[in-house]
Symmetry: C2
Subunit: 109 residues, 2 copies
Amino acid sequence: MSVFRAPGSQKAQGHVPSEQLSLELADFYKVFGDFSRIRILFSLLDNELYVNELADLLGMSQSAVSHQLRILRQNKLVKVRKDGKTSIYSLDDDHVYRILTQGLEHISH
Amino acid sequence: MSVFRAPGSQKAQGHVPSEQLSLELADFYKVFGDFSRIRILFSLLDNELYVNELADLLGMSQSAVSHQLRILRQNKLVKVRKDGKTSIYSLDDDHVYRILTQGLEHISH
DNA sequence: TATACATATGTGCATATGTACATATGTATA
DNA sequence: TATACATATGTACATATGCACATATGTATA
């Protein structure tokens, strides 16, 4: 793994992990580290759904769902398709699916 | 994936994801979703290190490191070995290593 | 065009969280 | 035993964050 700084920029024993990479990885996990967002992603595993369907399904307000969908969009985890008045959301690709299944494997040891 | 509730407990189209599982998975990701904790874990990839070594290496206070190590301990991501006055920390098992490498794969697309 | 509907978004607030500071706990050494 | 050292932890506070509320934007229909 090229997680570390170039030799010479380190002080004592141990390698200082790259701050850039650490930040990116933490941000990556942060998106998945929220109950509502995980539930939204799970809901989209089978079907694409529009915003109000998600809100009803999960018992969340339209506002809350929209705000979380925005975060998921910005992080390229979901994509939108417009159909008239409705915005239809789906997982961006099966990359997201793999991340979720790997996470589930880890928590079931 | 058995991520969903039993059929019958769902309303319209779409499956309501299990709240229990969603919560566990979000909490799992939440631990990794912090810059300082990721850096600590990366630092422990090669070597075991004691608290002050980590603090010096990462430019963090002893207090901050200890508090984060506590969270990592509670989530079984690191383990402690006592040697006199010092507490020597290491990754709990290579399960943690796998999680980190998978995360890195994802952010590098 | 006026209205209803679906979604997006700005804002405020309550809660969560990371860390500094101070201190407690535990261990080795003089 | 007294002191220094290493770590753990309680507390306060600043910041981050998720969501409710109100409203803006965009689209279809009467």
